[in-house]
Symmetry: C2
Subunit: 215 residues, 2 copies
Amino acid sequence: MPKIVDHAQRRDEIAVVACRVVARYGFEQATIVRIAREAGYTTGMVAHYFDTKQDIIIAALRLILRRIEHRLTRPPEGGGEPDLLALLSEALPIDAARFTECAFWTAFWGQVAADKRLKRINSLMHRAYMQLFERCLARGWPQWTGWSTDTRQRVLRSVVTFINGLTASTVASPGDWPAARQIEQLRLHLDMVQAWADRPTQPDAGPARLARARR
Amino acid sequence: MPKIVDHAQRRDEIAVVACRVVARYGFEQATIVRIAREAGYTTGMVAHYFDTKQDIIIAALRLILRRIEHRLTRPPEGGGEPDLLALLSEALPIDAARFTECAFWTAFWGQVAADKRLKRINSLMHRAYMQLFERCLARGWPQWTGWSTDTRQRVLRSVVTFINGLTASTVASPGDWPAARQIEQLRLHLDMVQAWADRPTQPDAGPARLARARR
């Protein structure tokens, strides 16, 4: 069915351009007219594939999620166990292409609170995103399955929150966050989280008690 | 000079409304017309105080920074040493007013990459923001001055990145991040960072070597 394949390809192509346009000009300036022009199509042609600008944005989000998923789940070159830091660095804005994706993602976060439909889409995306990172941590840390459910939940939230923070910080202040610094800071975070999760468990030795004991 | 006082107050008042409008409707929909209407003024009246929408946004940013600064630097009730977790929680979207500020901040991050003037303003804001958090950490951790400059820099970046991550994550997915969870996750982060910074220093025992040793 060549026509259907073409259709999906064309949608993806427009979504890629939309991602770039949002990253470069912001949500506001990313009009259908501009996206069409950058893609080399007429507005009518784009309208044939997408009803609204919001639909294009959602297609772009899905495409980025698919790309990140692909990068975070592919087997490491040369086989063997994947290195967790290398794996998770794939989600950071460490080169021009990833910066564009992260800038789009940050622009999206900035719109979610104000848009009911984006809110719904985001909660689906968010779930998929958390599951993806959970799979990564389970692949990268052999101890993962030995940790309690509560520990795993806190570790997952901590790592994803930190990566989101690196994403927003780098997009807002790229001069402060060259790739090597992002990776070094993520490495430190993974080390700290792992050391905490691997701590010898004692009755009521959670972080709350540790914090109290330190005061 | 009552006229000047009035002028500054009026600007602040419009900035507060702009913050709320951006948080609720997004950057795109936060037009001067809408901001004026929500503030109960005519567009002409708002134009008397601000030339462009961008000027209003910048005034709102400055106002939020001033507010956070006030909350993070005031002495604790009852005197004594401030509790670092309580202090830093002031920057999190843990209630409606703080959520509005954080939603505005996230919307701003989403625009920075696309706007040269916002980029310049952001780098000034960013510096002030980092200095503010540095003062907080120095107040809350008596060991701060004993840590090496490198350790202090990594700790500061780690804490601010994590707070930025909590901000963006909560604004995008508020259902996942009730206030108690934000605070608990920040508490864990502070515990981990402190434990790392307090580690006994050994020659070449930085995180890179530890990570290699664990593989």
